[in-house]
């Protein structure tokens, strides 16, 4: 470690495998989730969803529901409290009779029990004036447009040099279209909110990725001063992006609670989540690569189409990854968007990079085959010294180390590059590789630490632990920065009263919170040192905020990198694909807790496998919703699908990322996995799979097409 800001390398708590600090609470059921706060006189709300994809509500016969046992109220656009703008039109629930997509919230039924609410919600007659809907994502739609920005705030287009000219003049060319389907986030814990008003003071227990963010949304929606809203999210059962911003239960529970003057809990069913919490947009992408015979890229052109809803523009940053990956004098990335009568796509683990890497890293493999060059070698030959798109330096970049380390561990060097020649019984065998990357950003956060007279410390930060182990990692970091043991730290998270902090998203949580904790800890240590270590009986408190430091950060490119290697077995006669072995090697800064870091990366890679082979939300064009809206119809990888997964990381000390040297590991594991699998399927069978998921019918059809 070269930076003086970095903590001592002799840390006794960080980089030490550590069991989750909340493990006992979780396995014994003491950890409470948002739908487990039983409040006095609590009522239950159940969401009623639109059964048309576009049109207006004509009549809601609430008398039918109100006459049913236990029903307390029906809230719809006629009687719902008016909401102020919070910058997300999809949260303007029950404000108008317009319907923008099938599955939209059109009413909330509240009853004494959740069963009664559900029964009445299902019986509630609603009639509509239905208009024609348009839900079919395609690239030849006349309303395709270029968004101004793509998520979160990247320019939609970038261009260096002359891509078309270089492409036409090149010795070797590859160009292909790739597609990825809509995919749905399915955290184990469905979205849930329990809300309670005390006069004009609102408390919600909510399942989210950031209590701060939900807090500010609620303040805006209900026009409340910051001090009057309290968001508590102590334990969260997964989010994967779908809880990164306030979702409908957060709006509905307080609305209902206000109207009834009772605490109200609103939970979602699994099926409802397929319309109401976001999803990954389908994409259609074209990648064009041009190179000379030595394998040096002359042009990279990445064009990405995605969809959005008619009420909120969400533009997936699908092609942005291509701006940082490979050295080329001519580089162009473009995004196109189509607004349809569908729910708004939103963040899903590694938005942008997950679908984008499938196209880019598949195309690189196609180019390697065209050049008869090893795909690892091709990537190494195109390793850039600076950001290919803007020319900025990288804070650190160890893609090549990952590729080389991975090659050694995987046994890549012995690989015979020829496709379709290895057989084990009915299985054709192949191996594949792909690069991965994910930005390593930091966002301003605040933290408070109190030194207690007994020598222990209370750390308060509005962080979220979605099951990732963030609570444990932050405890480790706090102990390190304060120079004490884990047992001396009481870390409290998931409470908006602790001040503004970054959400658990964009792989920025631990990095951003860790920085704020580190800053507060240093301040506190300074004060303690000044006072000779004396702590007054009421304790000694400090607060920190990292905004100034983050604003002052140098303009460099901060990214984690990695290399994914997989082995597949394909039965070309049944179309079945198995993945017996995966290896991911990552360069992602300092690893705070090897135990949970390994789980995060394995989890990401498993998801990548799931994305490659199974996950697909099927748009029902006639009715306008996602047809397979439950876990029977929406397949995620089962245990039997997951073979041996090995995860490794290369040492990386990046003093420019942040003082703790953390890059974030929540998302990078999924990036590139699907491409590595598709590339391995090609190596096994000789057929390219350019559409995800690689279903048996696609394997069978490609075998047939090839004769």
């Amino acid at each position: 470690m070269t930076s003086t800001l970095n903590p001592p390398a002799t840390s006794t708590t960080v980089q030490v495998p550590t069991t989750r600090v909340d493990a006992i609470a979780k396995v014994t059921g003491q950890a409470r989730y948002a739908a487990e706060y039983d409040l006095d006189r609590m009522a239950f709300g159940f969401i009623v969803q639109a059964r048309i994809a576009r049109g207006t509500i004509v009549a809601i016969e609430d008398a039918v529901a109100l006459a049913m046992p236990g029903v307390l109220a029906v809230i719809d656009y006629r009687n719902a409290p008016r909401l102020s703008d919070a910058g997300d039109a999809e949260l303007q629930l029950l404000q108008s009779e317009r319907v923008y997509y099938r599955g939209e919230v059109v009413a909330l039924v509240i009853a004494e029990s959740s069963e009664q609410a559900r029964a009445a919600a299902e019986a509630l007659p609603i009639s509509y004036a239905e208009a024609d809907h348009d839900v079919l994502f395609r690239t030849d739609h006349p309303e395709i447009y270029t968004p101004e920005k793509v998520n979160p705030n990247f320019p939609s287009e970038s261009s260096v040099g002359n891509v078309d000219g270089a492409f036409d003049a090149a010795e070797v060319r590859v160009q292909a279209w790739y597609s990825t389907p809509a995919e749905h986030n399915n955290p184990l814990e469905p979205h849930a909110t329990t809300a309670q008003w005390d006069g004009d003071e609102l408390t919600v227990y909510d399942s989210n990725q950031g209590a701060s963010s939900v807090h500010s949304t609620l303040c805006k929606l209900f026009d409340l001063p910051r001090g009057r809203v309290h968001v508590r999210s102590e334990h969260v059962g997964g989010g994967f992006g779908s809880k990164g911003s306030a979702r409908p239960t957060v709006v509905l529970a307080p609305m209902a609670s206000k109207l009834l003057d009772r605490p109200v809990r609103v939970t979602m069913t699994r099926q409802q989540m397929f319309a109401l919490v976001g999803y990954r947009t389908p994409t259609i992408q074209q990648v064009r690569l041009a190179a000379d015979h030595t394998g040096r890229l002359h042009a990279l052109d990445h064009l990405a189409y995605s969809q959005t809803s008619r009420i909120v523009e969400f533009a997936e940053q699908t092609a942005v990854m291509s701006r940082v990956m490979y050295a080329t004098p001519n580089l162009r990335t473009r995004h196109r968007l189509l607004a349809l009568d569908v729910p708004t796509p939103r963040w899903m683990r590694a938005p942008g990079e997950a679908p984008g890497s499938f196209a880019l890293e598949s195309a690189m493999d196609e180019l390697a085959a065209e050049l008869q060059l090893d795909p690892v070698e091709l990537r190494i030959r195109n390793e850039p010294d600076f950001e290919p798109d803007g020319g900025r330096p990288f804070s650190s970049r160890n893609l090549v180390s990952c590729l080389l380390e991975g090659s050694d561990r995987f046994g890549w060097r012995e690989r015979d590059p020829r496709p379709g020649i290895r057989r084990d019984g009915r299985w054709l065998l192949g191996t594949g590789v792909a690069s991965s990357t994910y930005p390593a950003r930091n966002a301003p956060s605040s933290c408070a630490i109190t030194a207690r007279a007994d020598g222990s410390f209370e750390v308060r930060i509005t962080a979220a632990d979605l099951g990732t182990g963030a609570r444990t990692a932050l405890t480790q970091l706090a102990a390190e920065s304060l120079g004490v043991g884990l047992a001396d730290i009481e870390l409290r998270i998931g409470d908006s009263d602790f001040g503004q902090a970054m959400i658990a998203g964009g792989s920025m949580g631990t990095a951003s919170w860790g920085w704020a904790i580190d800053k507060a800890a240093r301040q506190l240590r300074g004060q303690l040192d000044a006072s000779g270590g004396a702590v007054p009986p009421e304790g000694l408190s400090v607060t920190s905020n990292t905004r100034a430091e983050i604003d002052a950060q140098a303009d460099v490119v901060r990214h984690g990198f990695g290399a994914q290697f997989v082995e597949v077995a394909v039965d070309p006669r049944s179309g079945e694909v198995r993945v017996p072995r995966m290896l991911g090697v990552f360069a992602v800064g300092r690893i705070v807790n090897p135990t949970t870091a390994r789980s995060q990366l394995i989890g990401g890679m498993t998801w990548g496998l799931s994305m490659a082979l199974f996950e697909e939300s099927i748009m029902d064009v006639e009715f306008g919703d996602y047809l397979n809206h439950d876990l029977a119809g929406y397949h995620v990888a089962s245990n039997a699908d997951v073979g041996a997964i090995e995860v490794a990381w290369v040492e990386e000390h990046d003093e420019q990322t942040n003082p703790t040297g953390i890059k974030g590991i929540g998302e990078i594991g999924i990036v590139g996995t699907a491409a590595a699998i598709a590339n391995a399927v090609w190596h096994a069978t000789g057929h390219r799979q350019r559409a995800l998921p690689i279903r048996p019918d696609r394997i069978l059809n490609s075998a047939n097409a090839a004769g």
Partner: protein
């Protein structure tokens, strides 16, 4: 979910009487399909008659060398039974390829045979579906049908029957024993004619009275089945329904096929006994060509749609691969 009453029957007669007295009642086996459908609003019984205490849980060898299986036998127990594993391995394999350990522990033989299709329109009450709501239409034909029928469907319905077990049972010439009223005696229905094709009435799925109680299954003595095999292809390695499956057995003497049993799953509204393929094979020299030709003969009646045409190739491949393996034929 509609409120319902629950009653545990201890004799077939009382179960039958309760069922006959109330058209809105249903028998409850393990509940692994029925209760799911009730939660979805697809089934809305007001009375559940639990038939798991009817003492129909024996697996016994019959005097003619066959096996009788009580309708209440749990799927796991059937798969583990030595008589089944030894004499009808395809049945054990079919069961073990389905659902999960927990589900198989709960699921009964009767319930397995009667489980409903997994067509996504059928399970979504906000959409039309002729099977669930006769006359409302079949959106699957122009919509999502990649796992629906290529054989035996009608313009009114192309749902597939989901049971793995039933495919193996059809190949093994099983017989379903039912009682159709409290004063009736047991009636034997060959499994091949137990489930019916949709035709104009996809809401009807069996050839017996809707209130019939399945009491047992029987398997004939069938030496050929001792080397039977079930192969299932699905979209993930476990915990998924088939997109194509085959239960098969073959007997070859001096290189000539003297007998065979072939049934397909996930291609038709019923577990599909491939009579034409079997007839085609009889007396032919066992070999890839004959197997391919037999499969093609069976599939010549297929009416695939754009999304499920891949099943033709899949079934053909499975037929050839499984028959080759069973008869020791190599390419």
């Amino acid at each position: 979910m509609r409120s319902f009453a629950y009653q545990r029957a201890t004799e077939p007669e009382s179960a039958l009487a309760a069922r006959a007295a109330n058209a809105d009642s249903r028998y409850l086996g393990g509940g692994t399909n029925l209760v799911d459908l009730m939660k979805l609003g697809v089934e809305t019984p007001d009375l559940l008659i639990d038939v798991t205490s009817l003492s129909l849980t024996d697996i016994t060898e019959t005097s003619d060398g066959g096996v009788r299986i009580g309708a209440g036998v749990r799927n796991s127990d059937l798969a583990a039974h030595p008589l089944i594993r030894r004499r009808y391995p395809a049945i054990a394999q079919a069961i073990l390829s389905g659902a999960s350990g927990q589900l198989r522990n709960l699921a009964t033989v009767g319930g397995n045979l009667m489980q409903r299709t997994r067509c996504a329109y059928f399970t979504d009450v906000t959409k039309p579906c002729n099977k669930r709501d006769p006359g409302s239409g079949c959106p699957a034909r122009t919509g999502e049908h990649h796992n629906l029928a290529i054989l035996g469907g009608s313009t009114h319905c192309i749902a597939t029957s989901p049971s793995d077990l039933a495919v193996a049972l059809v190949a093994c010439d099983a017989v379903v024993h039912v009682r159709e009223g409290s004063d009736s005696i047991e009636r034997a229905v060959p499994i091949d004619s137990f489930r019916t094709l949709p035709g104009n009435h996809p809401e009807r799925e069996t050839s017996v009275d809707p209130a019939a109680l399945i009491t047992a299954l029987s398997l004939p003595a069938l030496p050929i089945a001792a080397a039977s095999h079930y192969r299932k292809v699905r979209e993930r390695a476990s915990y998924a329904f088939a997109i194509g499956s085959i239960a098969a057995a073959i007997e070859v003497r001096d290189g000539v096929v003297t007998d065979s049993r072939i049934a397909y799953g996930a291609v038709a509204p019923v577990p599909w006994r491939a009579h034409r393929a079997e007839a085609e094979l009889l007396g032919k020299p066992a070999g890839i060509e004959a197997f391919e030709f037999a499969a093609d003969t069976e599939l010549s009646a297929a009416q695939p749609l754009p999304g499920n045409a891949y099943k033709l190739g899949l079934i053909r491949n499975l037929t050839v691969d499984v028959l080759s393996k069973l008869s020791g034929v190599t390419r």
